[in-house]
């Protein structure tokens, strides 16, 4: 998941998500970077709406006690 977290740092900081940006972050973390994965991620982001993906998460966390039986 490091690659995704790195992209999220850039997103969260309002920066553009670029190959160089992700690489720099991962290298700073001491992670050995796989260039093809970085490229694949950045390329995939063309079709991924991060804001929406995050939105889904907050939903999942937040509401929906619905099905959850009390302990």
């Amino acid at each position: 998941m490091e690659y995704v977290y790195a992209a999220l740092i850039l997103h969260s900081a309002g920066k553009e998500i670029t190959e160089d940006g992700i690489k720099a972050i991962l290298e700073a973390a001491g992670v050995e970077v796989n260039e093809a994965r970085v490229k694949a991620l950045v390329s995939a982001l063309e079709d991924v709406n991060i804001e929406e993906a995050i939105e889904k998460a907050s939903f999942a966390v937040a509401p929906a006690p619905a099905a959850a039986p009390a302990a």
Binding site: L8, E35, A36, L41, S43, L45, A53, I54, V61, A62
Partner: protein
């Protein structure tokens, strides 16, 4: 290739030079297989990709020679073999891969090829009137018969399994039925950009999956922040709510008479009483419970 004997003909040298030019001048290069692609489809592919992708069909040996002359391309060697073409483009590997995938069309099996898939023919009517086609279908192993003036397939059968050689009779029967069980076109073996090798596994991006990873990553980050009580704008409200709920839960479950929890405490006591009462016979209940 030690097998090369004597001087390489001039026209072949020209091909090698051309390949080297492509490698030098394009962002992404690669090797694709086009085994089984009919000439007509190949022409169509060339026509459609003309402005985006250079496609050069030359012998493996020539590609190999071109590769050998530039060290950074060495790793492409293992992807040679069979009927391959060399591609070059200024698209990034992911876009190029998508374009190449688009060239694939449903196609019939050819006589004597090894089928990559199981081919199942469903039972049901065909569009053929009685005639010699009946014999062709039967020769291909299909349970064909005449019913109500039409040729029908009486049972669902698997005519060839993945890995089996397709008998010419079977290929003919399938083509009569216009069954196209395989997709043929330019099949990416490898792409390379700036020395980085991309296999089809790297290139086939599942947008849903990536989106899911972002959801998961955010959820995990939020969980971590909340569960470690790290207060940031994203968690502040959640943590306040959680702290309040913890306090309220404690108050209710321990029967602490604080104002915020009193209605719940009373409700809890009442519903407990009702739960017990629901298990009791009438004679154990007082009037207000019987009402």
């Amino acid at each position: 290739m030690a097998a090369v004997r004597g001087a390489v003909p001039q026209w072949k040298l020209k091909d090698v030079e051309e390949l080297k030019e492509l490698m030098k001048n394009y962002q992404t290069i690669g090797i694709v297989s086009f085994r089984g692609v009919p000439a007509g489809q190949m022409q169509k592919i060339r026509r459609e990709l003309r402005d985006k992708v250079k496609i050069k069909v030359v012998k493996n040996t020539l590609i190999e020679k071109a590769i050998e002359e530039a060290e950074e391309f060495e790793s492409l060697k293992e992807f040679l073999g069979d009927q391959v073409a060399f591609v070059a483009s200024d698209m990034n590997p992911f876009k190029l891969f998508k374009e190449l995938e688009k060239t694939k069309e449903p196609s019939p099996l050819k006589p004597n090829q090894v089928s990559p898939v199981d081919v199942v023919v469903e039972k049901g009517p065909t569009s053929f009137p009685p005639g010699p086609v009946l014999g062709d279908l039967q020769m291909g192993g299909l349970p064909a018969a005449i019913e109500k003036g039409k040729i029908v397939i009486k049972d669902t059968v698997t005519v060839v399994r993945a890995g089996e050689v397709v008998k010419p009779e079977v290929a003919k029967a399938l083509s009569l039925l216009e069954i196209k069980p395989v997709k043929l076109g330019l099949d990416t073996r490898v792409l390379m950009e700036k020395g980085i090798v991309f296999t089809p596994e790297d290139l086939a991006i599942d947008v849903e999956a990536v989106s899911g990873q972002f959801t998961e990553a955010y959820t995990k980050a939020l969980n971590l922040a909340v569960n470690s009580a790290y207060v940031i704008p994203e968690t502040a409200e959640i943590l306040i709510a959680k702290a309040f709920m913890n306090a309220k839960n404690l108050a209710v479950n321990a029967g602490l008479p604080v104002k915020e929890a009193i209605p719940e405490i009373l409700g809890k006591a009442y519903s407990e009483m009702m739960a017990i009462a629901s298990l009791l016979p009438e004679e154990a209940l007082d009037e207000d419970l019987l009402a």
